[in-house]
């Protein structure tokens, strides 16, 4: 099945501009459509100039946290006695997110060109693409593309006589959400359980094999060629202040036209739902939106008239996250929604730190019990309290990712929880108390 949509007139196609061209993943088609122009240009630039363009672009990390990309590149030490590495985070497992898949399927060389430019900027010559295990077909595709790039001199020793060496390898994950967290990913890359590391030192200083490492999401690297080719300022101008460019928004849930759309940063969420996504499914009323993957606090329908950029969402006490926009209509049971989210985090908690390991398990147990009709009058506060006590106290952000949506759901839909509880004594869903 073709995964990209018919272009919507509201889309601004920068990263997805080659989608729809037959064989857009192949080197020939890439070269015929501006491929490697940015790399050739970057060969003539000083590392500082490349990093300055990245800074000017206002590009912020697309993996979830939105850290300014140019700044991250500048944190990698100039000179290092150890080799420096580039690692692509293609673990894509934040519920609601399905964009990196498209970028790798339809334009893998764009991402690789972005990595090569990063290599020029930070003086790195070896890169690994860490791809979640379920995406085996993409690993196979990347392996074929990489072989062709080597065969035709676009990877390997002294690329097209430039004196610049660059190697790229794929690396498969094996089923673990936590391995998307950057330091857990690095442990996994080193052949260990995916458990997070203490920060600092940050990966830019001590990452893969304790060497300086630039670790970035697929979409972030995929934006680099356009930035270098057309200039950072042009990219920045597409978005809002401090939120440069476009991003891939994955519309899913109760929406007429689900799909992955490339829209300018700061695009209005209601317009996204109604004009890009064709409105709420079946003409129903909007209830809530998960704006950027399941880790983000939900927005109530009346909070959705908002610009989708990192700053506007932070101001609304939510997050732009990874671009997974999940639409919930009026029929959605928020108790069940909260329970399903927590089942996920409890399953994926790596068990390393106590607040996350115990907190997610306790929340899951309480939410299942509540959902099954055995809630008590103390439970709503208990759920809120456990989640708030996890927040900011876990070793990595997985604990926060579990706590944040939970707190938002309980706070914003407290009435619904109370009504659910009031009905519980008469409509017990599961007669036997579930022991989890």
């Amino acid at each position: 099945m073709r995964l990209y949509n018919e272009p919507n007139p509201l889309e601004v196609k920068i990263l997805t501009r080659r989608f729809g061209i037959t064989n857009s993943h192949t080197l020939d088609v890439y070269l015929q459509n501006d491929g490697f122009q940015a790399f050739q240009k970057a060969l003539g630039m000083k590392p500082d100039q490349i990093i300055d363009e990245m800074k000017a672009s206002g590009l912020r990390g697309r993996g979830g946290a939105g850290f300014p990309a140019g700044m991250k590149w500048s944190f990698v030490p100039r000179s290092s006695p150890k080799p420096k590495y580039i690692v692509v985070n293609a673990d894509e497992s934040e519920p609601g997110t399905c964009k990196d898949r498209l970028l790798m399927e339809y334009d893998p060389i764009q991402m690789i060109e972005g990595m090569m430019i990063a290599g020029l900027a930070i003086d790195s010559h070896k890169a690994y693409v860490y791809v979640r295990g379920e995406y085996r077909y993409l690993i196979d595709l990347l392996d074929r593309v990489i072989d062709e790039l080597y065969a035709r001199g676009w990877l390997g020793k002294s690329i097209h006589g430039s004196g610049f060496d660059f190697d790229v390898y794929t690396h498969t994950g094996a089923g673990s959400y936590e391995c998307g967290e950057e330091t857990a990913l690095l442990d996994s890359l080193e052949g260990k359980r995916g458990v997070p590391r203490l920060k600092p030192p940050f990966p830019a200083v001590a990452g893969a094999w304790a060497s300086p490492t630039l670790l970035t999401n697929v979409e972030t690297f995929s934006a680099v060629p356009a930035i270098i080719r057309d200039g950072g300022a042009a990219f920045a101008a597409l978005g809002t202040p401090r939120n440069g460019g476009t991003r891939m928004f994955c519309l899913s849930g109760h929406i007429e036209r689900p799909g992955v759309y490339e829209l300018p940063m700061g695009f209005n969420l209601l317009q996204m739902i109604n004009e890009v996504g064709g409105g709420v499914r079946g003409g129903r009323k909007l209830k809530a939106v998960v704006p950027g993957g399941s880790s983000c606090p939900v927005l109530k329908a009346d909070e959705c008239d908002i610009a989708m950029d990192f700053d506007a969402l932070a101001k609304a006490k939510s997050m732009l996250g990874s671009g997974g926009v999940v639409i919930l209509d009026e029929t959605t049971c928020m108790v069940k929604f909260a329970m399903r989210i927590m089942k996920f985090y409890a399953h994926e908690s790596c068990g390393w730190c106590i607040p996350c390991r115990e907190g997610t398990a306790w929340l899951k147990k309480t939410l299942i019990r509540f959902h099954d009709g055995h809630g008590t009058s103390k439970d709503i506060d208990l759920i809120d309290d456990i989640a708030k006590n996890m927040l900011g106290r876990t070793f990595c952000a997985l604990g926060d990712a579990a706590a944040m949506p939970t707190i938002s759901i309980v706070e914003k839909f407290r009435d619904e929880f109370e009504a659910y509880l009031a009905k519980s004594s008469t409509t017990v869903r599961v007669p036997e108390l579930t022991v989890v």
Partner: protein, 161 residues
């Protein structure tokens, strides 16, 4: 253990992909590709991967216990993985899982007696915009309805005969 020639070639290349002395990095990929070839992670495979990567068997074993895609029991020849995470749940993922379970007569992480199918409820598989979704071994199926699922199982059963 000796693997088919393509796999041996892949393993040789894999061991050279990581910096000198860091061959432990190949543990997870090697387990994944070998598991696909032999059906599951056996104690012999653990020993073999440990030997090839220069680590202890315990270090390999710890990894097997952590990652959900590595399994010590055989799956069916077709391992059907149905996503019930949020985007899929909102579009019928749970009903799809229940349907698959009924149709195949097996529960979560179980296999049919003939070894043809196994079933697993999985977390988000990166197909949220085409929900509900499932994976058959490594093949994605999007916007799956119970009818489409029946057709898939029918065609896989026919192929097996």
């Amino acid at each position: 253990m000796i693997f088919p020639p393509e796999l041996e070639a892949r393993f040789d290349k894999m061991l050279k992909a990581y910096p000198e002395g860091r061959q432990r990095s190949a543990v997870i990929p090697m387990l994944m590709y070998a598991q696909d070839a032999i059906g599951m992670v056996t104690p012999e495979l653990v020993q073999e991967v440990a030997r090839r990567c220069g680590v202890t068997a315990l270090q390999v074993d710890e990894v097997v216990g952590y990652y959900t895609m590595l399994h010590r029991k055989p799956f069916g020849r077709h391992h059907i993985q149905v996503c019930t995470n949020i985007s899929c749940m909102l579009r019928g993922g749970e009903e799809l899982l229940a349907h698959a379970s009924k149709r195949l007569g097996i529960g979560n992480r179980e296999a049919t007696a003939d070894g043809q199918f196994s079933l697993e409820e999985v977390e988000c598989i990166g197909a949220c915009s085409w929900a509900p979704a499932l994976i058959d071994n490594y093949e994605f199926h999007h916007s799956v309805t119970p009818e489409k699922l029946d057709q898939l199982i029918d065609s896989l059963q026919k192929k097996a005969q």
